[in-house]
């Protein structure tokens, strides 16, 4: 019998492949390493954010603060590198510590004060955006030579594609996330929490630790996404990345993860990101379409995938076999 979460993943993958083939048949030049490389580079920060979001959503929560955390990270780095002589790597570490602690704090509030994640992370969103404004209201350029060094790390593929470091970081994050979610006890606990927190507690899942770690991961990855974004734009701007949290949520859902938690794959999120990136690329290639079509298509896709989830969920419970068929004796 089919397993519905897997099936959702396969459908997302098939959607991507089909969409890519259709685009490529219209614009054969899309079938190049350049397009693929840009797809990865342009979506690196969103991809990283979506990894964290996958953890959070799988556990039955939501994190609305990530967009603000990215903006804060950018401004934080830009200001530090402008005003102090700190090496960027040290600043990176410092930043990751701050955003991870921030995520952990939100997780603690959610767990210990039993507040809905929606409210807590909404507050976190305003807080981080506000902090970014306090640091600087203008766009602060980053001119540190180390940034040029990082930007120069490229692998030139045959066909003109330039695979940059930040795309690599994103892919690495997905691989690590996959291992964590499927091959560690913590990962299974994330799913357990999303299935039912009450049941998970009775089954011995350390709810407090797991919840806090999940939001810490979300915060940490948003910080990493902030670093990547600052490398990508060479600047920090407190008004940047507004609404990125919603794009990340969309990618997670298109990737086949149940918004109510407990079911889904981080690999699906990866394809969700690729699908969203592909739509944008298609619109660029077309040239005549307004970029708002991206939103419209993503909206349609979201709707389709939510309907699909419903249908799949219904199909699994429907096919329940009676106990007698599985008993060895009788």
């Amino acid at each position: 019998m089919m397993r519905s979460p897997r099936l959702a993943l396969y459908i997302t993958m098939t959607t991507f492949v089909l969409a890519f083939l259709i685009s490529a048949s219209q614009y054969p030049s899309m079938l190049s390493t350049r397009v693929v490389a840009n797809l990865l580079t342009d979506n690196a920060f969103l991809g990283l954010t979506a990894v964290g979001m996958t953890f959070v959503i799988l556990s039955g929560g939501i994190d609305l603060s990530v967009g603000s955390v990215i903006a804060f990270s950018g401004v934080f780095l830009a200001v530090i590198l402008r005003d102090t002589s700190m090496h960027p790597l040290v600043a990176f570490v410092l930043l990751l510590m701050v955003t991870t602690a921030f995520g952990a704090a939100m997780g603690s509030i959610i767990h210990y004060l039993e507040m809905p994640p929606f409210i807590v992370t909404l507050a976190g969103m305003f807080l981080m955006r506000g902090l970014a404004y306090v640091l600087s209201t203008d766009s602060v350029p980053i001119t540190h030579p180390f940034y040029d060094t990082i930007q120069d790390v490229v692998w030139k593929a045959p066909g003109g594609g330039r695979f940059r470091l930040i795309g690599g970081i994103m892919i690495l994050a997905y691989i690590v996330a996959m291992i964590v979610l499927h091959k560690t006890r913590f990962g299974r606990n994330v799913y357990a929490l999303g299935g039912s927190a009450g049941t998970a507690r009775l089954m011995g899942v350390p709810i407090a630790r797991t919840t806090i770690t999940i939001y810490a991961i979300g915060g940490g990855l948003a910080g990493l996404a902030g670093i990547v974004y600052s490398i990508y734009t060479s600047a920090g701007y407190s008004l940047a990345t507004v609404g990125v949290e919603l794009d990340a949520i969309a990618a997670v859902v298109i990737g086949g993860t149940l918004l109510s938690g407990g079911s889904g794959y981080v690999a699906g999120t990866f394809f969700g990101i690729l699908i969203m990136g592909l739509i944008q690329t298609y619109i660029v290639f077309d040239g005549t379409l307004s970029s708002w079509w991206t939103k419209i298509v993503i909206g349609g896709l979201l709707f389709a995938f939510i309907m699909l989830q419903k249908a799949l969920g219904w199909a699994t419970t429907k096919g329940r076999r009676p106990a007698s068929e599985s008993a060895t004796q009788s």
Binding site: M1, G194, G195, L202, M203, G262, P322, A327
Partner: protein
């Protein structure tokens, strides 16, 4: 002998208070190695609360616990599990969104090079479940298996995790005879290895079959501890209820049923239930007998339109109708009290009052709210009639004891005053006292001219109230028993022989 043995677990003076209620009042519980200890009591007596207080799922307000002579103070189920006390809770079972292996091994998965070893996990899961007589694919989602299998998986997990004490809170409520046998043999096997098992149930037959001793609770107090070899079922019931209970017997006199109100021809649904004919008359109770998975529940669901039939026709009082959804069924004055109250019926966070009037309000339409005074009147009436034990009708229904939730669900459907009422396992998880009350209630409703269809796995119960008994097997109606034919023996025979037509 036993008294000279050192107890494996000794709980003394356990107290537990809830807002507005004393759930446990200085409760003692002593377990010896190698015994099966029954924990008995009416619905709401405090059985589930006691084990939750012992295992740290609730924080107890007083008392001491000794395990193997040493004081313990588990603050969470994890802690008590690590100490050797494994539990299968009554209401919450496992995670339906995860695979069978995940459920078995959550928190103690086999590791290889610091990562989970899925292959080993699946292999061992398969092996463990074989020991329980289940040959299933553990990589599948738990939700793809029936409730009975899920229950066995829950038991398997608790057994694997605990070493000293295993607590089973109504583990057999949704199992059929064969599966109960399976669980019993596992329990016996465990006790022969020196484990102590606490067994909570409302099936007194099972208590006497399996258990050595029993502790009886009433209103949160221990009213007695007995060796079961020394007492009779009647003694235990008297202890539980505080008064004597008449044995349920077949009502000799039965008024003759009235006109046919619901008539189904060739009604069925592919893959769920073979087409059947059924005529239902006013003032009769049609019992549905059969093993678990024989199609009892499916029959109820098809009639009520929970799954719509794909063949056959139905007539209500001579007019042809389509029973395509619960909504239409409700409009035609049908009611269904489902089997699995946790997933199909109870809205946990709503108050008891809201849960009771839910269907009535739904039929009336949400734009026309019921009057407050009328609601209170209805709720009070049924709380009293069914003896639902609660602190206040305003409390969230999930805080009620399991059996009282079941009664509240029954009240919901009675409140709609249906012409036809379908009850699927109405007495599951209900104590002996309330059991008798519900049988009386069915009798009363029948006398008032209501038509009832009652599915039950308890033969005595069917014999007590049925005008006719339809026997199901392999999702097919195999026989119909009437009048004098309705005896436990005949039902059992028809179930096992199956083929012999009437």
């Amino acid at each position: 002998m036993e008294t000279q043995m050192k107890p494996i677990l000794r709980a003394k003076g356990i107290d537990k208070f809830f807002a507005g209620a004393i759930a446990l009042d200085k409760v003692d519980l002593t377990l010896y190695p190698g015994e099966v200890h029954a924990l008995l009591g009416e619905n709401g007596a405090g059985k589930s609360t006691l084990i939750k207080s012992l295992t740290g799922a609730y924080h107890r307000d007083g008392g001491t616990i000794e395990l193997d002579g040493a004081q313990i103070d588990p603050r969470s189920p994890v802690e008590s599990q690590a100490l050797g006390i494994g539990t299968v809770y009554q209401e919450v079972n496992l995670l339906e969104n995860m695979s069978v292996s995940d459920n078995l091994f959550l928190g103690w998965q086999p590791m290889k090079r610091r990562l989970l070893d899925h292959r080993e996990m699946h292999r061992r899961a398969r092996e463990i479940l074989k020991g329980y007589g289940l040959d299933i694919d553990p990589t599948q989602l738990l939700s793809s298996y029936s409730i009975a299998i899920q229950q066995v998986v829950a038991i398997a997990r608790a057994v694997e995790l605990s070493g000293k004490v295993l607590i089973l809170d109504e583990p057999t409520a949704s199992l059929d005879r064969e599966e109960i046998e399976l669980v019993f043999s596992v329990v016996r096997n465990l006790t022969s290895r020196g484990m102590a098992v606490v067994f909570i149930t409302h099936f007194l037959d099972q208590v006497f079959e399996l258990c050595d001793r029993a502790t009886v609770l009433r209103n949160g107090c221990v009213v007695g501890e007995r060796k079961l070899a020394d007492v009779s079922q009647g003694d235990i019931v008297e202890l539980m209820l505080g008064h004597h209970l008449e044995a349920t017997k077949r009502r000799a006199k039965q008024s003759s049923p009235g006109e046919t109100i619901l008539s189904m021809k060739g009604f069925g649904k592919r893959g769920m239930i073979e087409p059947f004919d059924l005529d239902l008359r006013e003032g009769e109770v049609v019992g549905l007998a059969g093993l678990l998975g024989s199609g009892r529940t499916e029959t109820c669901k098809v009639i009520f339109g929970v799954v719509s039939a794909d063949q056959g026709s139905a007539e209500l009082s001579g007019k042809s109708i389509r029973l395509s959804s619960p909504r239409t069924a409700l409009e035609h004055s049908l009611g269904l009290c489902p089997e699995d109250r946790k997933t199909d019926g109870i809205v946990g966070d709503l108050s008891v009052r809201e849960n009771i009037i839910l269907s009535l309000q739904a039929r009336q339409g949400w734009t026309r709210p019921l009057k407050r005074s009328r609601i209170n009147q209805i709720v009070d009436e049924y709380v009293k009639a069914l003896d639902i034990r609660l602190a206040s009708p305003n409390m969230p229904i999930r805080l009620l004891s399991g059996g009282n939730q079941q009664k509240a669900l029954l009240a919901r459907w009675l409140a709609t005053e249906p012409d036809i009422l379908i009850l699927d396992e109405p007495t599951r998880g209900i104590d002996v006292g309330a059991h008798a009350e519900i049988i009386d209630l069915i009798e009363r409703l029948r006398e008032q001219g209501m038509a009832l269809i009652v599915a039950s796995s308890e033969m005595e119960e069917l014999v007590a109230y049925s005008t006719r008994v339809v026997v199901l097997r392999d999702r097919r109606q195999v026989r119909e028993l009437r009048g004098e034919e309705i005896t436990t023996d005949r039902i059992v025979k028809s179930i096992s022989q199956g083929e012999t037509a009437a």
